[in-house]
């Protein structure tokens, strides 16, 4: 159906180029386990989903949360507990993880969402630390040991997830579906309102909308998807530990989003791959991981603020927009 007006989304690259890149990404994703240890790839996928979920609030709603480890780690515990102790099937445990992540996100959101800027951030951090404390104290979490030997089970009773290749493809499918969901959310009626709130909150209020509720929905969605990422990681590594709920994880995932490109769909994925890989390769090199990541982060802030991917996109966008703006101005002059 033809519409009177077009959505203004300038093409940054030509269509053949775009489909070519997508096809390349698909081939790499499908072929990767032949060259790389599948379990490592699953870890990358989990963090890609986690970073993309955080970006939904950080990039698209403008809320910096330092509490996302609570959703990630909380869901990991929920998965481990339900799969191992209660003997739930894989899918149900996964769903339980999503519910726990989303539920915690809803509660965190209710408490923190009306606060602005740094106050919001500090409240999310404080709440996440309370979850960490609970994880240390509660008997079922196993304290320092965590919950170990969590069974992976089967997907719908058919696909045996003990096979790491099968596991990889299942996780890949789930993550891709979630990324598509995030993409849809960003480009939905709700996503448009969210974008408007990020731009000018007072104006959205004056349009008659209660901005807190929209932020709360975005935050809850983000937390639920972070929970899914945590549950997937727990299933893959058959383990839920204190590391998953610690504030380091919250910081690391923020870093992934910033390094990759805040407020873009692909940026967090790039950032997650980068940070997980650095961690992996430095682990055996003897160099202190956090020091290297810190230096990378500083370089990122000073040299390319929008992140690897974001900076590239912005360069292309500015070029295209300048052309469009010039044409619009020329059109107007011509009419006078």
């Amino acid at each position: 159906m033809a519409h009177r007006y077009k959505d203004f989304r300038p093409r940054l690259v030509s269509d053949p180029m775009r489909y070519g890149l997508l096809a390349l990404a698909a081939v790499v994703a499908l072929a990767a386990p032949m060259a790389i240890f599948p379990l490592f790839l699953v870890k990358v996928l989990c963090f890609m989903l986690f970073a993309a979920a955080l970006n939904l609030v950080l990039g698209f709603a403008g809320l910096l949360s330092l509490g996302h480890a609570a959703f990630f780690g909380g869901a990991a515990y929920a998965f481990a507990q339900s799969a191992k102790v209660w003997g739930w099937p894989f899918e149900l445990s996964l769903l339980f993880g999503v519910v726990v992540g989303g539920g915690l996100g809803f509660v965190f959101g209710l408490i923190a969402i009306r606060r602005q800027g740094i106050y919001f951030t500090m409240i999310t951090l404080a709440l996440a630390q309370m979850i960490y404390f609970l994880a240390v104290q509660a008997p079922f979490t196993g304290g320092e040991d965590g919950i170990q030997n969590v069974p992976r089970g089967t997907l719908l009773g058919v696909l045996d997830l003990r096979d790491t290749h099968t596991l990889y493809y299942v996780v890949l499918a789930i993550v891709v579906i979630c990324l598509l969901l995030i993409r849809r959310t960003v480009h939905s009626p709700f996503g448009h309102i969210l974008g408007a709130i990020r731009e000018n909150e007072a104006r959205v209020t004056s349009l008659g909308l209660n901005v807190s509720r929209y932020k709360l929905l975005a935050f809850t969605l983000s937390a639920a998807l972070s929970g899914l990422a945590g549950a997937l990681k727990a299933s893959a590594f058959q383990l839920a530990t204190l590391t998953d709920v610690s504030w380091h994880i919250s910081g690391e995932v923020v870093l992934m989003v910033l390094i990759g490109g805040i407020g873009t769909l692909w940026g967090p994925l790039v950032g997650a791959i980068f940070v997980v890989m650095i961690g992996h390769f430095l682990a055996t090199s003897g160099l202190p991981v956090s020091l290297v990541i810190g230096v990378v982060f500083m370089a990122c802030v000073m040299l390319f603020r929008r992140g690897f991917y974001g900076e590239t996109v912005e360069y292309l966008r500015e070029r295209v927009l300048r052309d469009v703006s010039l044409r619009a101005t020329a059109g107007r002059e011509g009419q006078k």
Binding site: M1, H3, R4, Y5, K6, D7, F8, L181, R184, T185, H187, S188, P189, F190, G191, H192, I193, G195, A196, E199, N200, A202, R203, V204, T205, S206, L207, G208, L209, N210, V211, Y214, L217, L221, L321, V324, S325, A328, G331, R332, Q335
Partner: protein, 252 residues
């Protein structure tokens, strides 16, 4: 509701910031269908009064009734939903969005199509005809795909006016709608505001006295947080206190 011909009634509105009294005991009645101007020298409390009426600031004392309903304690978003929408003094548009998207967001908010995160944005094209009508009204049709950030100042104000109209409010509050506009835009906007009278009620703060004289049905003059005169332009212009306020102020 004895004064049902007034869409907005404020009684004894007062706001103090610490020791400073910005608005002290102002009564204001805005008649339905009128174009009502609020004037006064700098620092008279016009913007504060505006913020009080739309509840962006909570009054220290006094009460406000909109369509006979007490809104003294209602939050700002609820007031907008009741049909009282404001614009801001500093141009308030979504800078990174195009003219089209700016207006469409407002229509979307009005239509309450705001929650569906699982639906495609393609559905938003059903607002296109309304967008078209609004951009033609304010003369922004040729700039439909321009980002708001790239618009000249006067056009940004026109865009803001269009987004306000998109909500089809019964009462429109305009905070200096012509500030920073060129002559051509002023004429266009004056005509537009005048055309709103009757269907909508307009309450506006405006410095340009010629515009005020041209389009207002009723004028309220504030000085140092107090109402010093009210009436038609001729009545107000004849008032001694108003003359001295303007002679003493920066405006001639």
């Amino acid at each position: 509701m004895s004064t049902s011909s007034c869409i907005l009634e404020a009684r004894g509105l007062r706001k103090s910031f610490g020791g400073f009294v910005a608005v002290s005991g102002v009564d204001l009645d805005v008649e339905t269908g009128n174009i009502h101007a609020l004037i006064g020298p700098n620092g008279a409390g016009k913007s504060t009064l505006f913020n009080l009426l739309t509840k962006f600031i909570q009054p220290t004392a006094g009460d406000i009734r909109f369509k006979g309903k007490d809104i003294t304690h209602a939050p700002p978003a609820a007031i907008a939903r009741l049909g009282m929408v404001r614009s801001f003094q500093i141009s308030s548009v979504f800078l990174h969005l195009t003219v089209y998207e700016n207006i469409r967001v407002a229509l979307q908010a009005h239509g309450r199509d705001t929650w569906r995160f699982w639906r495609s944005e393609r559905g938003l094209h059903r607002f296109d005809d309304q967008v078209h009508e609004l951009v033609c009204q304010v003369g922004l049709e040729p700039l439909i795909y321009t980002r708001a950030a790239d618009l000249p100042y006067g056009r940004k104000r026109a865009l803001e006016l269009a987004t306000t109209l998109a909500l089809d409010p019964e009462l429109i509050l305009l905070d200096e709608p012509m500030a920073g506009m060129g002559q051509e835009d002023i004429e266009r906007t004056s005509a537009l505001i005048r055309s709103l009278g009757g269907k909508h009620t307009v309450l506006m703060v405006e410095h340009n006295l010629k515009v005020v004289a041209d389009i207002s049905d009723r004028i309220t003059v504030l000085r140092r947080g107090e109402k010093i005169a009210e009436g038609s332009y001729d009545e107000v212009a004849a008032n001694e206190e108003v003359r001295s306020a303007y002679m003493g102020g920066a405006h001639g």
